[in-house]
Structure formats: C-alpha cells, structure tokens
C-alpha cells in the first residue's frame, strides 16, 4: 500500500482526520514547550529579587491596563549597542514575579527594563503629563488623567496579592494586611512611577 492509498483512508474518516491533526500538531508543543515549564533555571529568582510591593504592583497593573507594552519592550538583548543604550542584558531570573511577562514585541518607544533610577520621579511626572514638553519629537500619548485618579479605586489590592500568594509569590499575610495603607493617598500616577523606578534594579552580579 503506498502512501496515497494509506492517506485515502484518513480523508474518508472524520475521526481519523481529527485524531491525525491533533497528533501531528501536539508533537512540537510537547517536545519544545512542556520541558521549559519544568526548567527550574527559568523560575528561580535572581538574588535580591523581591515580589512587587503593593504600590508597584498597582503601577504594574496600570501599565498592563494602558497597554504601555505595545510601544515599550522590557527586554535588553545581549548585543553590544543595546547594552550600551539600555543597560545590562535581561536574565530569566529577573522576571519570575511577572504575571504576565511584559517583554513586548515592538519598540515604538525605548526599552524600559532598566528604566529604574534613570530619571527622578519629578521627571517622570512631567513626562507623563506632557511628553512633548520634555522630548519635542516624542509621539507618546500624555497620561494626565492618571494624576487625578486614586490608586486602587476598586479596592482589590488585597485580593490581587492573595491571588499572587496562591501562585507562590512570597508575600506575607502582614504585607497583605498593610497593603491598603501603602496605597492610601496615592494617585495612579504615583503607583506607575513607583513601578518604573523598581524596574531592572535588582540585577544579578556582574550584570
């Protein structure tokens, strides 16, 4: 029986075709994707990495809400010019508290993985209120309304931290208990800036 005869059976049988498609398309995922889910070097934090404190976590969720990641990557590649421009190459262990990851796929704006500490809070504030006042050629949107909105208006910060605790982030019950206090009186802009200032600062030795 040659190959085409054999195939003639598949294309006459719905179940065989369905089974064939599932079998053929599963191989790649099983061999390539599944092993990395068990590779501990990808899920071990670099020394000194802490889970995001409440204010920065709130800021990160605002970053996700506004889709900043469609214009900004958070991933420095091991290329000389890139390291000179942005800082040390990104390591897997720096992202273990990132759910979801925010590496991005497009740099309409600069990479932000090493933005922490690059500018003062005041610079960021000015920049978010009016990017073109700081960089005339900028095409980044202004984010004025963030300054007017209170952080955690939904009051869900404790639930969010508990969900992350469930997923293995080392928050203590005490951290969670005091979280609302850490956000009291802060605006969404404060939270976002707190997040940016934390980014990439706990880099591994020699990085």
């Amino acid at each position: 029986m040659n190959l085409m005869d054999w195939h003639r059976r598949i294309e006459r049988h719905t179940g065989l075709l369905v089974f064939g498609i599932i079998a053929v398309t599963s191989v790649g995922g099983l061999v390539q994707i599944v092993p990395s889910l068990f590779q501990t070097s990808l899920s071990t934090p670099v020394a000194g990495l802490e889970p995001y404190p409440p204010l920065a976590l709130e800021g990160r969720d605002i970053y996700i809400r506004e889709s900043c990641s469609v214009c900004h990557s958070q991933q420095v590649r091991p290329l000389l010019a890139e390291v000179m421009r942005y800082g040390a190459t990104s390591k897997a262990g720096e992202f273990v508290y990132d759910r979801p990851f925010l590496w991005g796929s497009k740099r309409t704006g600069p990479d932000l993985h090493r933005i922490g500490g690059k500018y003062s809070d005041a610079w960021h504030r000015l920049h978010f209120m009016d990017p073109r006042a700081v960089v005339p050629s900028s095409i980044m949107p202004a984010y004025r309304w963030l300054a007017e909105r209170d952080a955690d208006t939904g009051g869900s910060i404790q639930n969010r931290m508990r969900a992350l605790q469930l997923l293995g982030h080392p928050y203590t019950d005490r951290d969670i208990y005091f979280a609302p206090q850490r956000l009291a009186g802060k605006s969404e802009l404060d939270a976002l800036i707190a997040y940016l200032q934390m980014l990439g600062v706990s880099r591994p030795e020699g990085g």
Binding site: M4, H7, E11, R12, L17, V18, G20, I21, V24, T25, S26, V27, G28, G29, Q32, I33, S36, L37, Q39, L42, S43, R65, E66, S67, S69, V70, C71, R77, L79, A81, M84, R85, K91, A92, F95, Y97, D98, R99, P100, F101, L102, W103, S105, K106, R107, T108, V135, S137, I139, M140, P141, A142, Y143, W145, S156, N159, R160, A163, L164, L167
Partner: protein
C-alpha cells in the same frame, strides 16, 4: 457499502447564516480598519490621543487587533467554512440552530471584547488580551462551532473529505488547544486575572500561542478558503492533489515549532530559539508548495483572470501570501532578527500578510459568494475593479513604508561610532521616522477607502435581493468518489 443508509438529500443549504457572518465580517473590517487608521494617525499627530483614555494609542491598538482578528478574520472564516462545508459535503449544515447560536454568541463576544478593552480590562498578553469571563465564553462557543462543523462532515454525502475542510478543521482544533492552554489564569475580579505562568515561561507559552494563532487562523484557516474558492472561481480543479496532501501535513507539523522565533536573544533557552529558527526555515517549503499549487491552478484561466475582479483579488492575495511566507522565515534567522525585531519591519510583515493575504482573499471570496447567496449579479464590477487598485496601492504603500522605517530603526539603533559609543539618540532616530508614518497612514487610508467601496457594492447587491435557495445535488456521491481535487 450497500448496508449503509446515507441520509436523504436535504432540500436546501443553510445559507442565511453564511450571509449573516459575511455582513458581520464586512462591518468588523470597517470598524477594525477605522481603528487602525486612527491609531496610525496618532503616531503622526500624537495630539489625536485627545487625553481621553479609551482613545490613547495603547488601548486603541489593542481594539484594532482584536476587531480585525476576532471580528473580521474569524467571522469571515466561520462564514466561509459553513458555506464550503455544506457544498463539499452535499448536505445541509448539521444543526442550523447551533450555527445561529455560534453567530450571535460570537458577535456578542467581539463586542464585549472591544468594550472591555476600551475600558482597560486587559490580560496583557498579545492577541489574548481578553479577560477570563470572555475567555470562557470563547471556549464554549468554539466547542459549539466545532460540533457544527465536524457534525456536518460526519453526516456528509460524499465519501471523501475535501481538502478545504482539513484546513478549516485544523484551524478549529488547534485554536481551541492554543486558547485554552494560554489563557489559564487565576481570576481576581470580573475584570482582572493573573497568568498561571510567569516570566520566561509565560513568554514561551504566549508565543507558542501567538505564532500558531497566526499559523492556524491567518494561514491555515485562510488556506481552507483558498482551496475552495480558487478552483471554484477559476473553474479549474486543484493542480496537484498530491501536493496539497503533502503540504497540509508538513504545514500542520512544522508550524507548531516556530513560535519561539518571536523570542530570539531573549532569556529563554538558546536551543529553543535555534530549533524555532530551523523549523521556520523548513516551513518555507510547504508554504510555497501551497502557493505554487494555487497559482498553477489558475494559470490556464486567463480569460477569467482578466475579467473577474474577485479572482484577481484572490490571485493577488496568493502573491502576498508567498511574500509573507518568504519574509517570515528570513526574519526568523537570528542574524536578520537582530535588525528586524522590535521594529516597524515586523509591522510591515504583519500587514503584508494581514492586508495583502487575509483581507484580499476574503474580499475576493465575498465578491464571488455574495452574488450566489442572494441570486443577484454583483452590483458593480467597475467599482470592484477600483477597489482592486486601491487595495493594491494601499497595501504596497503600507508595506514599503514600514520596511523603510524598520530598517532605519534596526540599523541606527545598533550603530556605534569610532569611540564605541551609541551613535544616535533614540529620539533622533524617532524624528526620522515621521515621513514613513505619514506614508503608512496614506496607504492604510487608501486600503480602507477600498473596503468602504466594497461594502457599498455588496450592500447594493444584497438589497436588490431575490430569494434563492440552493439545493444540494440529489444523487448521493458517497460512492463512487468524485475526482480528487474537485470541490
């Protein structure tokens, strides 16, 4: 064989639901492209963000991708797959009520998705931004879609399952698998959840999803369309049946491996990246085999190719398919990806596929299908020809300007001066991109205007409607099998 009792011939095909999907796809293409044009304009004139959160670039771009992918592309695939599966199985669709359920539920999902993204509910993964309640709804509707589609195949009155249906089938099965695995998350509230995976592992899962959603939706699903409508419209059987068999299985097997080429030089294991690069190069073979099969099929239909705007659109879309399928593997080579990654080059590649291939083949099929659904000739062939030229000019301007911008970024970002310092500041390079962004806006607008003309044309065709009901052939074809490759 004699012992089996084939179902009696149904009286008509269920085509109203096909028409409903077609209209929805046209509307979503207009909405999605309007969002795309506006987003493109924001990159030229950032004041257009208007300090209004839902209109800011980040949110609007996400609405754009969701409206075109899940509104336009998926509605078009659902509609054409229902059209095709009935005609290639010679039977009325299995459970028409369920087909209608899929229609209404899917439209609600896309609307809810767009509204929630405007509001800022975003799961943060590209092409999987919708939050968990919508994700669950998608899973349920998708299963129903699968039941209707495979149910129709199971009760078919033709022995052989036509090649289009394998591609549509692979699209349905694989998208279900990808969606479920990638969307696993712990919910916090109705509008917020955290991914079950973190960091580098999340990245690997996400791009296994992201790349194969492109592979089995934007490539596989649309090849299902191609394999039915191209032979139909050119009145020629598929050139090589054997080639279509081989390229189908090679495509389904190798695409799945290529996802991590989106993560070159990132913190994921290097063997995963290298494997993805190799598999991306291998993928070139089945992809081009399919294109050659399509082009050879129409190669003798010269007369039709001159006169039929729908067929012209489909053939042009095959050329763009070939282009995107060549460019993709090139960009997957690590040394090329150094330049192209993170730049507008990717955007050019995306839209040479999305506009040149997906949108054009869909438009071509609609010009063929809608007149048959309503039993009226196309309202204006001339308008359709104008659409053809606007679309061609638009997509060329879009793709060329993004190549220019992308190579500029890719090269200048990495350029060092004699002292080993970064030669140009980020913002200097940004300022040089403005002309390209303007050209892209022009190209996108031309493409959009073309789509508006098509909507008018199809609307006029439909509103002159005579009711038709198309009946399947009455003789059972289950045996003997029809000649291979004839839909």
């Amino acid at each position: 064989m004699a012992a089996i009792k084939w179902p009696a011939a149904p009286t008509t095909y269920e085509d109203d639901v096909v028409l409903a999907f077609t209209i929805a796809a046209v509307l979503w293409s207009l909405i999605g492209m309007a969002a795309g044009v506006y987003a493109a304009a924001e990159l030229v004139w950032p004041a257009l963000n208007l300090d209004f959160a839902p209109l800011t670039f980040g949110r609007l771009r996400t609405v754009h991708t969701n409206a075109v992918l899940f509104g336009f592309a998926v509605s078009a695939l659902m509609g054409t797959s229902f059209y095709t599966v009935q005609r290639t199985c010679h039977i009325r669709i299995f459970a028409p009520n369920l087909a209608w359920t899929v229609f209404f539920a899917w439209q609600l999902i896309v609307i809810a998705g767009a509204v929630s993204l405007f509001m800022g509910a975003n799961a943060g993964k590209e092409y999987a931004e919708l939050e968990w309640p919508i994700d669950i709804a998608i899973t349920v509707v998708w299963v129903i879609y699968g039941v209707v589609f495979f149910g129709t195949i199971a009760i078919r009155r033709i022995e052989q399952i036509y090649i289009s249906n394998w591609f549509f089938g692979a699209f349905i099965l694989v998208v279900a698998m990808l969606h479920i695995v990638n969307s696993l998350a712990i919910p916090v509230s109705a509008f917020k959840s955290y991914s079950l995976y973190a960091g580098a592992q999340d990245a690997i899962v996400q791009w296994w999803y992201g790349h194969n959603a492109v592979g089995f939706l934007l490539t596989g699903g649309f090849l299902g369309m191609m394999y039915y409508f191209l032979p139909k419209q050119s009145e020629r059987p598929i050139w090589s049946y054997r080639l279509s068999v081989l390229s189908f299985w090679a495509f389904a097997y190798s695409y799945i491996w290529a996802g991590p080429h989106h993560l070159h030089f990132s913190a994921i294991p290097e063997w995963v990246q290298t494997l993805a690069m190799v598999m991306s190069l291998i993928l070139l073979a089945p992809s081009w085999a399919t294109m050659i099969n399509g082009i050879m099929t129409v190669s003798t239909a010269r007369q039709k190719l001159r006169e039929d705007p729908g067929l012209k659109l489909i053939v042009l879309s095959l050329a763009f398919y070939g282009l995107a399928m060549f460019e993709g593997p090139m960009m997957a080579i690590r040394s090329v990806n150094i330049i192209s990654h993170f730049t507008e080059w990717t955007i050019g590649h995306v839209h040479s596929g999305a506009l040149g291939w997906n949108a054009l083949i869909t438009f071509g099929c609609f010009y063929f299908m809608v007149p048959r659904l309503v039993g009226q000739p196309l309202w204006s062939v001339r308008l359709a020809n104008i659409h053809f030229w606007l679309a061609l000019a638009g997509v060329m301007l879009y793709v060329l300007s993004m190549w220019g911008a992308g190579i500029t970024q890719g090269v200048l970002w990495l350029s060092l001066d004699e002292l080993g310092q970064v030669r140009y500041g980020f913002n200097e390079i940004l300022a040089a991109l403005q002309p390209y962004y303007l050209l892209r806006l022009l190209g996108g607008s031309a493409f959009f205007v073309g789509a508006i003309l098509m909507s008018i044309n199809l609307f006029m065709t439909i509103s002159g409607q005579r009711t038709v009901t198309v009946a399947p052939p009455t003789t059972s074809m289950r045996s003997p099998a029809p000649a291979a490759g004839t839909p």
